[in-house]
């Protein structure tokens, strides 16, 4: 009686549904005409990605995805849309649009072509569930990996971000001078 594994079945179904929702949400981002709904679809897509990470036992990445992308980055998007007042775009055919359609069709064709080559192979990572459990949590596993083997690239990335932050402050702080001159 009841031989099938309910847990695995539920898990597979949930993964499928979340993945499909992610694809539909990303379609919504490019097909929707109101900017605010586009931003909301993008948030939905990012939440789905976080859920997928969670389903594959990467809790730390899921939380970081939510905090950084769905939380901090997208709230700035909404901020700008709110300040600029997102108006609905009027959809009309144009040359740019036909070029874009040709481009998308080419990409799709290439995708199908690559599918014809043969079965795809999953990329094997350093960690599986056992090693993560041995290390003691996904946060610790990522920390160990990041600060031992990838420490140079990690530090370089942080320097890059710092330069960007300093640059933004320079651009926004010192461009006020001509405005003041004009007011005089």
């Amino acid at each position: 009686m009841f031989e099938f594994d309910l847990f695995e079945l539920t898990r597979a179904t949930v993964t499928m549904v979340v993945g499909l929702t992610a694809v539909l949400a990303s379609l919504g981002v490019i097909l929707c005409s109101a900017p605010i709904y586009c931003a909301l679809y993008l948030i939905g897509h990012m939440i789905c990605l976080a859920l997928l990470f969670l389903l594959y036992n990467a809790e730390f990445i899921a939380a970081v995805q939510l905090i950084v992308y769905a939380g901090a980055v997208m709230i700035l998007f909404l901020f700008i849309i709110a300040l600029l007042g997102g108006k609905k775009e009027i959809q009309e055919p144009s040359t740019e649009r036909s070029v874009a359609i040709v481009f998308v069709a080419t990409m799709l064709g290439e995708l199908f072509f690559s599918a014809a080559v043969g079965p795809t192979k999953p990329i094997e990572g350093v960690f599986d569930i056992q090693t993560v459990a041995e290390v003691g949590g996904s946060a610790k596993a990522i920390g160990l990996e990041l600060f031992s083997r990838h420490v140079v690239s990690f530090e370089l990335a942080s320097v890059l971000l710092l330069v960007a932050a300093v640059g933004i402050i320079c651009l926004s702080k010192f461009s006020y001078v001509p405005v003041r001159r004009r007011l005089k």
Binding site: F2, I36, L40, E59, V64, I75, L83, G137, A139
Partner: protein
Amino acid sequence: MIMLDDVMKFFEQYAYLIIGSVKAFVIAGALLGIVPALVWLERRLMGRFQVRLGPNRVGPFGLGQPISDSIKLLFKESIIQSSADKFLFHLAPAIVVFTAIVTFAVIPFGEPVKILGQEIGLWVANVNIGLLFVFAISGMGVYGMVLAGLASNNKYSLMGGLRSSAQMISYELTLGLAALSIIVLTGSLSLIDMVNSQALYPNILIQPLAFLMFFIAGIAETNRAPFDLPEAEQELVAGFHTEYTGMKFAMFFMGEYINMVTMSALVTLLFLGGWNTYGVPVWPILAFSGKVLFLLCVFIWLRSTYPRIRYDRLMTFGWKVLVPLSLLNLLITSTLVVL
């Protein structure tokens, strides 16, 4: 009988599922039920602080007041102005309440107990990234306020929504940095590990600065006075919920009060030693609830003591005082831990 045995056997292996759902329902229900009680407590205490009585007509000590208020809110007409975005207008309060309740899922409030041979932890989920989960989900709560401001199609609502998002992003930084010094001390993101590491003395004794900054940032995160800029009555009518009526209006308050409980519970877990009793002969769970109740009273006390601070000063205070201080505190803590 064979049928019944089979059914029992079938359910036995999914016991964790059943226990989990029951726990989720109980905690969500308790959180929703605590809101009217908190409103009553706030009104009574505010009355005392301002040398007046507070609600005292309905029932003994005005205890019937929250019931009558909820019934009134349920039966009020729900008004939506025609220029509003209907879908987002309905979605916004739901996001606020949903995120507030889900955040509480990882908050533990006692040691595991044994009931009917099953070990039951007094939490909904014990994830090893507990604290990050709290920050991730409570960060989602900002969307409720921003969307309410955007969907209302009203200048005051929009200003309130923008202010709330700016304020919450600014103070989330301090909140995270203050919590980070505790994470560095404990060496774990799990809230249960944090409580266990405070078995001898609470963290507030060795991290008083982090406690102060976490609490200040927590008040700003929950949009409570003196940081309730998003809903400043004198300037913005009622901020992001100007256009809301009836139960949808009440849902914003439900979210705010549940966030208050979650924030108090977090402060208790991180700094006040959670359910550790430190020799006082009470049940651990009572010790935890007592600490949370005390912090809730401090929230209300602060509201009736301090005037609202100006918006630019709020931002200056957050970015030029709290963030450098918490960075310094983190630097000193991690240096000491490494040494």
